[in-house]
């Protein structure tokens, strides 16, 4: 991803955000529940095609390559906006776009032409854990529908594989706790050496890819936390209990205030990470810190959001419980927070 330098949103970004906001209210909010409850119903693919027509299937592909050429901050704004309605679908978008970005970097332009318009999708398998001759990736957003999957081996080699490759097997995760609209799959590769000739791409993108993924998940988390706050605030402003609307009770106000602290600080951390620069891309340690912080706060916001809704928060029709389930996966994907923080320390030492 390109580094963002502007401090304020320019007109172009504002327009982009407006169109994504319209997509959220008109399409995503209408379909989010169905995509969560019946992810295999075909709805995700239908919404994906609509997203493609808005250019969201080639968000990170360069303008020369026929894409939108979005920088890190713009892409985060898009993800954040979409995650308010469906963090799962936003994860699908994230996975696809990072895969396409990597493919373009590796010079495989022909693959982008097909996938950059919402016809078929790609996915990023991260992290990839090597085992014996092959390896596996436990949770690949978009893995169930992907025509092409990108992963990085432990030696830093970038691989591009197809689900029909004999050495690759993808198993749809049929009943995940959260991020269901991402159509996740578990991927395993029997033998890496079989992929050497066909799949290995000539590019060193490991750090940049990881940084971008972390940044993206931070954006998902913040969108989700924003939604939890907005919904809880609206509900608390209407729900009457104990002699007053509940937003006037200090216990409730404190929960909402804590959510704001997370949102404000999280957005600052995200912006800082998106603008940080080391070798041209976002700095991985800044992204790591932003991701861990944003996801933890999103988890807390979703839990408190459900709590403020009381019994209604626990019922599926209110959409709050989905935030809680999705937040848990934002927290643990791509790696659990403790593993990220330990890596961060190593990077700093």
């Amino acid at each position: 991803m390109k580094v963002t330098r502007e401090l304020l949103l320019d007109d172009e970004r504002r327009m982009l955000l407006e169109s994504v906001a319209a997509f959220r209210t008109d399409v995503l909010e209408e379909t989010a529940r169905e995509m969560d409850e019946s992810p295999a119903s075909g709805k995700v693919e239908e919404v994906w095609r609509k997203a493609g027509s808005l250019g969201l299937a080639s968000a990170l592909v360069s303008e020369e390559g026929g894409g939108q050429g979005m920088d890190a901050r713009s892409f985060c704004l898009v993800l954040c906006e979409m995650a308010r309605a469906s963090a799962g679908f936003a994860a699908f978008i994230l996975s696809h776009n990072l895969a396409l970005w990597a493919i373009e970097k590796a010079g495989r332009v022909e693959a982008i032409k097909k996938l950059g318009h919402g016809e078929g999708s790609a996915a990023l398998a991260w992290p990839f854990r090597e085992l014996d001759a092959g390896g596996q990736s436990a949770f690949v957003p978009g893995g169930s529908t992907a025509k092409l999957i990108i992963f990085v081996s432990s030696s830093g080699d970038l691989f591009s594989v197809m689900p029909e490759d004999a050495s690759v097997s993808l198993e749809e995760i049929s009943y995940p706790l959260g991020l269901r609209a991402a159509r996740p799959a578990a991927m395993s590769v029997k033998n890496l050496s079989e992929l050497e000739a066909s799949g290995r791409l000539n590019a060193e993108l490991s750090d940049e890819l990881e940084a971008s993924l972390l940044l993206g998940v931070a954006a998902l988390s913040l969108g989700l936390a924003r939604q939890a706050y907005d919904k809880a605030h609206a509900y608390a402003s209407e729900r009457y209990q104990a002699g007053d609307i509940i937003i006037n009770h200090q216990q409730i106000r404190l929960m909402l205030a804590d959510m704001l602290v997370g949102l404000e600080a999280g957005e600052a951390a995200l912006k800082q990470a998106a603008e940080s620069s080391s070798t041209g891309g976002p700095r991985v340690s800044a992204c790591r810190a932003a991701k861990v912080f944003a996801a933890d706060r999103a988890m807390a916001a979703a839990l408190d959001g459900v709590q403020i809704h009381g019994g209604y928060g626990y019922m599926r029709d209110y959409g709050m419980e989905r935030l809680m389930r999705d937040a848990k996966y934002c927290q643990a994907y791509p790696r659990p927070p403790q593993e990220e923080t330990l890596s961060l320390l190593e990077e700093m030492e």
Binding site: L131, I173, L177, I252, V306, R316, R325, K328, P336, P337
Partner: protein, 496 residues
Amino acid sequence: MPQNDPSLREVRKRLLSDFPMLEEMRRRRPFYVEKLARTVRDCAEYNRRYVLPVALELDRRMEMEHDYFAWDLVEAGLQYRFLSLIIPSSVDGVGGLCVLVALAMEELCSACPGVANIFGAHALGVSPLLVAGSMAHWERVLREVVEEEKNGRPVLMAAAVTEPSAGTDVEEPHFLKTAHLSMNAKKVPGGYVLNGRKCFISNGSVATYTALCCATDRERPLETWTSFLIHKDMEGFSVPRVEEKMGQRACPAAELSFEDCFVPDEYVLGFEGDGMQPGTLLLLAASRAPVGAIATGIARGAYEWFLKWAERPRGGRRPIAEQRIQMALADMRTRIQLARWAYLNAALAFDNSVGSALQGAAAKSVKLIPKGIRTSDMARRFFLSKAGKTLSDALVAISTSPDEASHALAFASMAKAVGGDTAMYVSSLALQLMGMDGGEERRWVEKAFRDAKLTQIYEGTNQLNRLTLFMADIEKSLKVELKNPFSMKAVGKGVG
């Protein structure tokens, strides 16, 4: 999953080591502690034989088919007498109280809180009959539950308190005064006519009998809050909706609707206006410790699956080898044990005060009357009469002071809130340490995470439980007079 049924010896040993106070109690009341151990063993056996093999599948099925009800699992519980755990021995029930139900709940919930809550909500439905029901209700309704249980036919009960616009407000006397209520009972010759809705009622769609509280005058709800017993076949009663929940799915939460539903006088539990005090407050004092136990059981289940995961090698390493996993386990174990002691102490506080009165004086006095007379029409008329009800109330009051009841409620609220928070903490932490790893353990912990959240919400949100604790325990010891509107003192009668 355990390979064999647990032996009584193993369970007794575990129980006594988890609860040193039970070891102490065993010296004085060996038969009582033995009864507790037997019940917990039954729960563990029921889990192993019937629940663990199907719980994940059932949870998944009920996501798609939310109004399905696993009657087969309820029927499998009849042999263990799970429906008569708190029914007094005078009507041939097991005669357990809060401690027994709490221990049973922890054990059952370590496997599946959804299934467990069918029995938990049933016990909650039985409780109003213990608190306010007359001997005639015991003889008819509770005996029916016991007899049918023996015959292999489950008669389930439920308790209905929550209304669409009043959750917290109907669990706390002071708030009830200003609650926005939708249910109303109007006095008519020979009974009452009920109109309105109750919501989120556990077992509401499957219960034969539902104990329900509502106002007879919505302008004066606190003074007119009254308990009724509803039979599922009463005209005007219907179940328009079963909720789609995030977790605890095996136990349905239903909306109950009343349209000119006539309830005869003899289905009134206690007196008109007694519904909140002592009614609902005693009910909450009785039920919050077991809800703390439900939560503790969920936490324990999540902990056990997480431990299994941590021991299994992945990528050549076992997670348990890492210090951070070991310390997380130590932290989880600590919190679970603290939550466990909290609910057992609260349950003991209840059983020693209010509980002994419920099953003690009243129940014993009934036992002295020969069954033939007890069940006669004449006795039924007496027990349903004002004099009869007054006698029952007096027998309960003799050995219960308002202070004791208020203390029991404070402890119960403490146990409930700490339990719910523990369940959420343990399941959430376990999941975040497991990362995105697949596998069976993960599915169980994910289920626990979804199940756990409800324990911070039902039986009074944790926010309300803290408020109750403050009012029932802390506030009275203050040297300054608070002018906050939630003071217990502002509410006419004390608890109990």
